[in-house]
């Protein structure tokens, strides 16, 4: 850690925060571990254990965490490296409150929140979201088995990275936050799906459903914009005509 301290301005709150998080996460747990690679405080590698009782049971998954220079004001990006059948590998995914816009990331969340949320989010339906994969349970189970022998060129044999230490227990409040977090591929942040997708899930926790009220609003907005453009066009046309008439009168 000493060299990192030398390289960055530790007076900068964002740097101080990341150094604290690195310290907090320094000790591996049985569920997750994460640490900055070499001396770059803004790129981390992480390892998570597949949630027990799911298709990912027994799997161990490795990936990168990219921290924006504005962290913790802006969310970290996560990139899975180990094939898992739920998320595309080598693709940036980002977390936000499900059904909400990506700017709902909260600075009081942390890398631990992101990792816990990722574990909790793995068994949820992919529903065609960008960055998501909809592999069959059998394929996912096969990948889980294979994952334990996966190695990272930076960190080595990933199966050795987790420990048998229990992670800090998840608090009641944390749990309610984790239930709300969704992960999405990068592209989808910039544009919302144009049509409201039908929601198949009757459950209250539909993690990827589209907020229909927003799409209805969008449509209304579209109509208003179209009307306005029309009005402007008519206005210009009439002005032009008026000028033309003045010209002829002169």
């Amino acid at each position: 850690m000493a060299d990192i301290g030398d390289k960055y301005n530790t007076k900068c709150p964002g740097v101080k925060r990341l150094m604290r998080e690195a310290l907090e996460l320094a000790e591996a747990t049985e569920e997750y571990c994460a640490r900055p690679i070499e001396d770059n405080l803004f790129e981390w590698h992480f390892t998570v254990r597949g949630p027990p009782g799911t298709d990912f049971d027994g799997g161990i998954y490795h990936g990168r965490i990219l921290l924006p220079k504005e962290y913790p004001m802006h969310p970290p990006h996560i990139i899975l490296l180990t094939p898992n059948g739920r998320f595309e590998v080598n693709k940036k995914i980002c977390l936000s409150i499900s059904g909400y816009h990506p700017e709902t990331w909260q600075p009081s969340w942390s890398i631990r929140t992101a990792l816990l949320a990722l574990i909790a989010f793995m068994p949820t339906p992919a529903e065609g979201t960008i960055g998501s994969l909809d592999y069959t349970p059998a394929e996912r189970k096969a990948l889980a088995k294979k994952s334990v022998s996966w190695t990272c060129s930076e960190c080595g044999d990933i199966a050795l990275l987790l420990s048998s230490n229990a992670a800090k227990p998840v608090t009641e409040e944390e749990k309610s936050v984790l239930d709300q977090i969704a992960f999405k591929g990068e592209e989808e942040q910039a544009t919302k799906p144009p049509e409201p997708e039908p929601t198949y899930e009757p459950e209250p926790q539909v993690l990827e459903s589209v907020d229909t009220s927003t799409t209805v609003l969008d449509q209304v907005l579209e109509i208003i914009v179209a009307l306005l453009l029309g009005a402007i066009a008519i206005f210009i046309y009439r002005r032009w005509n008026a000028y033309a008439q003045v010209d002829t009168e002169l």
Binding site: E70, M73, E103, S110, E174, E187
Partner: protein
């Protein structure tokens, strides 16, 4: 304006998809332009004559009349960056600046601020990150306290320091985050009361997670009421818009309080006013 900068992340591949219409693209472009304009404005600007407002509205009789009315009570204005955090930034700047000359008020505030962390942790906010924001926040507060009520030179020194800190994105945003947390804490502690202000089916907790705690989310009455109550600080907001009349209407939060912080509201934005 309240847009997260990350929304500017590239949306490659959209052009292939015809269903993504022109409006979306235009709106996205507009958001990027707004962001660019916004970033060219300092987080907290220098003190300016109130008359500087006239330049913005030099052909607008409604606004010019209202600026005249405003000028009868206020001499100066300090602008803040319109990034959705302006209420929190303007409030904290104006209040800390005031505390430099009001030692008693400082002691009162220091006590409230000191206890705020435990209230937040008791509400279930993650201790680890709350502490992080709290420490930076208190570091700035205590710098003010060291010189509060001191000699004019000492006060001027801290004032300069305060201005620098508020214009450093890191510090400035940390203060905003902590005030957002205090606001959220107040809303959740008194959720029965604040539920009445929330339209639609959202609970107070959901509202806090979506509209209070995330950065760049603009502030409404409910945010101001909650923060002014939580810190027990009177805020007067002068509302200047294109509405009828030549008067700029004032609103005090909490109602009937003695205003310490004076803010100018123009649709979507808050700046600081000085008598």
């Amino acid at each position: 304006m309240a847009d997260d900068a990350s929304s500017s992340s590239a949306c490659t591949g959209n052009l292939v998809d015809n269903s993504i219409n022109q409006d979306e693209l235009i709106m996205k472009q507009q958001r990027e332009i707004e962001k660019e304009i916004s970033e060219s404005i300092p987080l907290v600007g220098d003190l300016e004559e109130l008359a500087s407002l006239e330049k913005e509205y030099n052909e607008d009789p409604v606004y010019l009349l209202k600026i005249k009315d405003l000028a009868s009570k206020y001499k100066c204005i300090r602008r803040t960056r319109p990034d959705g955090n302006c209420f929190f930034r303007a409030f904290s700047y104006a209040y800390l600046e005031h505390l430099l000359n009001d030692k008693d008020e400082y002691e009162k505030f220091h006590e409230i601020a000191k206890n705020s962390k435990d209230i937040l942790v008791a509400l279930g906010f993650p201790q680890f990150t709350v502490e992080d924001f709290y420490e930076t926040f208190m570091e700035v507060v205590q710098r003010v306290g060291e010189q509060a009520g001191g000699s004019p030179e000492a006060i001027e020194g801290v004032r300069t320091e305060l201005h620098e800190k508020f214009n450093k994105q890191g510090y400035s945003d940390y203060i905003v985050v902590y005030l957002r947390l205090i606001t959220s804490g107040q809303l959740q502690t008194q959720h029965d009361f604040y539920q009445n202000f929330i339209e639609g089916p959202r609970t107070v907790t959901e509202f806090c997670r979506q509209e209070v705690e995330p950065m760049y989310k603009e502030s409404d009455h409910i945010h101001i009421i909650a923060l002014s109550n939580a810190l027990n600080v009177g805020v007067r907001v002068k509302y200047m818009d294109r509405g009828e009349g030549s008067q700029v209407i004032a609103h005090d939060f909490p109602e009937g309080s003695k205003a310490i912080v004076h803010l100018l509201y123009r649709p979507g934005h808050y700046d600081i006013l000085y008598a």
